[in-house]
Every structure is written in C-alpha cells, then in structure tokens.
C-alpha cells in the first residue's frame, strides 16, 4: 500500500477517519482515512463501481458510515441527526453525476433553489443567479427548463447551483462523465477557474485520468479569461490525488508521487 497521509498545518475542512460502509454484503468502502485541507483540491481516482460516488455522499452526510468518523467543518457528521446536517450541507456545494437538476423548475429557480428557500428578495436572487450563470457562461438560459439543455449545459447549471452560496467545500461527482472531449474540457476549465478564483477546497471524483492531469497542469488566466497550461514541469501544488481500489484507499499523495508509485494497481490504472 502506497499511502502517505497529508499533514496539513490547518484544520481540515473534511476528515475521514477509518470509515467503513457496506450495503447488505461485503464492505463497499473499508477503513478509509484522508483529509481535505483549506484551499486544497483532491482528485479521487478509481475504476467505475469502486465506491467513489458513495464516498462523496458520505462526505456531506447523504449516507452514514457503519463505523469510523467523518468530520465536516470540524463537526462529527457520522453520528449527527439529519436535522443537524442540513445547516452544514448549506455550507457545501455538490455537483451530481447527471446534474440532478429539478426538472419542473427553470434554470433560474434551480440555481436559486437555496436562496428561494431562504426567502431572499427576488431582485437579489436575480442578480446572484445572473452572476453564477455568467461564471459558467450560461447567462442566456435563465428562463429555460433543464429538459431543453444539453448534457454539458446541465452540468454547468449544476456547477452554478453549487456555487451560488459561495460554499466552503465543493464536491464534484464525475462532472465530465458521459460527455464528449470538448464539453469535458469546458467543464474542467470551469473547475480550474473556480479553484483559482475562489480557492474553495474541493473533492472531485473521476475515472478520467486526462481530466485529473489537466487540473494539475493548468491554471486559470484572469487576463484572457481562459484555462492555460502551467510552465512545463510545473504542477498546481494544491491539487492532490486519492485512489480507490476494491473499496480501499490505496493511494494518497501528489501527482509526482502518483506517477512514481510502484503499486501494481496504480501502475495498471495509469497505463
């Protein structure tokens, strides 16, 4: 096993400690321990069906572990009541695999969902929705329904919805899954932009190595408003990797450590 746990100086926004979960059978996740530090982007790699999405749902209490502890913003969420979790979840933003937009609401109402529940005045809602949609370059879709958007546009709206309350932690569940390469690059550039503009810590699940490497080797250029490559050999120091295999965390470290790993599973995955 090639795990070198991070030793952040600051209090982590999310910390898993020996977390195990099973659904009527062998454990889906077993003995998972890792942390997400402030401003850190953690990329969770692993083949399909290995428990990545399950892990993400544990991170904001949508699922509960059988054993171990999970601390979100220094609150134990593994044993907290559902009512106690709602205020904590409002401090996180989650982008679901297929977007999970409310299909009976317009894009505006989807993005503004939390603000509408909090009874924020309409004028402020409109301004904040426009700002969030501008961030994902979909300002013109406010009055449309999700059914009339393409898959990539739906993901971008989901990102806008996750960002509107300026979350303290972002959870991305395979944001590029099932998309064509051009649309995937658009989504990844938005994630890079979010990382470099707002510095929100995030946990991103993907099985696409290309997306993971792009996140590490690119930055957002505020002058051109585009994602540009870092100088050759440079990598983003705040972007690190986790790898799951058969329910266990087999890697926790930087891109260099990932590439140098001698773990047979890691080598196979990278090959």
């Amino acid at each position: 096993m090639d795990v070198t746990p991070q030793q952040p100086a600051q209090i982590p926004v999310l910390a898993f400690d020996r977390v195990t979960l099973s659904f009527d059978g062998p454990p889906v996740l077993e003995d998972i321990t890792f942390r997400v530090a402030p401003s850190e982007t953690r990329i969770l790699l692993g083949p399909a069906g290995v428990g990545k999405s399950v892990l993400l749902k544990l991170a904001n209490g949508l699922l509960r572990p059988d054993s171990g502890s999970i601390e979100l913003f220094s609150h134990d969420i593994a044993h907290a009541s559902e009512d106690a979790l709602f205020p904590l979840r409002t401090r996180t933003g989650m982008v679901f695999q297929e977007g999970a937009l409310f299909d009976s609401l317009t894009v505006r109402d989807n993005v503004a969902y939390q603000l509408i529940q909090e009874e924020v005045p309409d004028a402020e809602i409109d301004a904040r929705v426009r700002e969030a949609l501008r961030f994902v370059e979909l300002e013109q879709t406010m009055a449309l329904f999700p059914a009339s958007l393409s898959g990539g546009m739906r993901r971008r709206v989901a990102i806008a919805r996750a960002l509107i309350r300026k979350p303290e932690l972002l959870l991305y569940d395979s944001p590029t899954g099932g998309l064509d390469p051009v649309t995937s690059t658009t989504i990844i550039s938005l994630i890079v932009k979010q990382r470099d503009v707002y510095h929100t810590p995030s946990l991103l699940v993907t099985h696409r190595l290309q997306d993971a490497f792009t996140l590490c080797t690119h930055r957002f250029d505020p002058d051109t408003g585009r994602m540009v490559p870092l100088p050759k050999g440079d990598i983003d120091p705040g972007t690190t990797f986790l790898m799951l295999a058969e329910g266990k965390l087999i890697f926790d470290g930087s891109l260099e450590e990932l590439l140098a790993s001698q773990d047979p599973f890691v080598r196979d995955f990278l090959a």
Binding site: K57, N60, L62, E82, D83, F86, P87, R89, T90, T92, M94, F96, Q97, E98, A100, L101, F102, D103, Y113, Q114, Q117, R161, L171
Partner: protein
C-alpha cells in the same frame, strides 16, 4: 428453505411497518415546527382538491343513483320505498362517501405522489435537495399529507351531496317516486354520529393516502421500473388500508355512540 423465506418475508414486513411509522410520524410532526411550506401546501391542495373534483362528483352522483336504483326493488317488496332517501343519505354519509372518495383520490393522487417522488429519487433530485440543505420530508411530504387530509374532508362532503342528489334524480325520474318525500327522509334521519362518522373518516383516509404515496415514492429503487413498482404498491396498499381503517373507525364509532344510533 421455505422457513427461511418465510422468516425473511416476515422481517421485511415488520421493517417496512417500522419505517413507515417513523416516516409518517416525522412528516406529521413537521407541521408543528418551522419552516412550514405553505405555498407547497396550497399548490398540493389545488392539485389534489380541485384536480380530483370532477371524478369525485361523477363517482358520488353515480353511486347515489345506483343505490337508489338497486334499493328500489328490495324496498318495494316490503312496501318501504318511502325510505329510499334515508337509505341513500345514510349510506353515502356514513360509508360510501368517505370510502369511495378515499379510494378514488388514492388512485389518482397516491399514484401521482409515488411516481413523482420516485422519479425524483432515481434522478438524484431528492439527494440534490438534501445536499442543498432542504429536508425533502418537510418540503415534499408534509404539504402533500396535509393537503390530502384537508382536501379529502371537503371532497367527501361534495361526494355525499352529489350522491344524495344522484339518488334523488333516480328516485324522481326513474323510480317515479316523490322528490320531496325523498329529500325529507334523507334529511330527517341524519343524526350527529352519522355526521361525525362521515367527517372523521376522510381525515384518516387523507393521512393514509398522502403518507403511503410519499413513503413508497421515497423508497423507490431500481430506476424507472422501480417507479412503476412503487406506484402500484402505493395505490394497492393505500386502498386496502383505507378499507381496513374504515372498518375499525366504523366499529369504534358505533361503540362510542351506541346510545345515539
């Protein structure tokens, strides 16, 4: 082997009843703790109440008419055709009004709730709602249950009224009896326990159809096929439970008001 299957099924039933009890009581108690989503309550009241009005009017009127039609021959054998009004009004108010309305509205709305919430589960919209810090039980379930209770109460009154009107129309135009006599008999023999029985039942039936529709909707697994299964379970179980609870309430009220009846 057979014993194992029996044990597993029994455990499954007990677990389902336990989950339903926790779910239904949580949804009920939400009405007394903020936030309360009044807008959702009004929207659901419109869907359940106004949306079900036509089927309730039609089924109520037809049932009243059929009661008058079927009773005419039997009552004529005893020379008691004069009590057709009493027979129709008491049957409608005590039994058929609440039960028929409950079953009809359950067929229309418990199925709609189960399929709507089930679709939201399989497309992760319920998880998205939770992730956005909104309690789906408070936001989706509680307004539906209370809208079902409130609307079933009024729909039952509508069904009773149209049932008596339907019975009256058949009595006058098909059985060629006296309309004034029908109405007098229908009105004079209604007692307080009949009204209590007729108006207490829809409160329970509304709670049953709303909570069961939402319960099976939120338990949906297995994609779109699972949505279909949840819808069937919601309609079948709510209809059966309505008829069973009708028996219990009838028995209880007959015991309570033994001296009045």
């Amino acid at each position: 082997m057979a014993l194992d299957t029996l044990e597993r099924t029994a455990k499954q039933i007990v677990l389902t009843v336990q989950d339903y009890s926790v779910f239904a009581s949580r949804a009920f108690l939400n009405l007394f703790r903020p936030p309360i989503y009044w807008t959702d309550f009004l929207v659901q009241s419109d869907i359940i109440g106004v949306g079900s009005l036509s089927i309730v009017v039609l089924s109520g009127m037809s049932t009243g008419g059929v009661l008058a039609l079927q009773s005419a021959t039997t009552l004529a054998n005893f020379g008691a055709t004069a009590i057709t009004g009493e027979f129709v009004s008491l049957t409608m108010i005590r039994e058929l009004g609440p039960v028929l309305t409950g079953v009809m509205v359950s067929g229309r709305n418990a199925s709609s709730m189960a399929s709507e919430l089930g679709s939201m589960v399989v497309t992760e919209q319920i998880d998205a709602m939770r992730a956005l810090g909104v309690d789906p039980i408070r936001k989706l379930v509680t307004p539906r249950i209370f809208a079902s209770i409130a609307m079933l109460f009024f729909l039952t009154i509508v069904a009773d009224a149209f049932g008596i009107v339907g019975g009256g129309l058949v009595t006058v135009f098909m059985n060629h009896q006296n309309g004034t006599q029908y109405l007098n008999m229908a009105w004079e023999h209604i007692r307080f326990p009949d009204i209590v029985q007729g108006l207490v039942k829809p409160l329970f039936f509304g709670y049953i159809l709303g909570s069961i529709g939402c319960f099976y909707g939120l338990r949906t697994t297995g994609g779109t096929e699972g949505v279909g299964r949840s819808t069937i379970r919601a309609v079948v179980n709510s209809s059966v439970l309505i008829i069973f609870v009708d028996f219990l309430i009838s028995h209880l009220i007959l015991e309570l008001f033994a001296g009045w009846m």
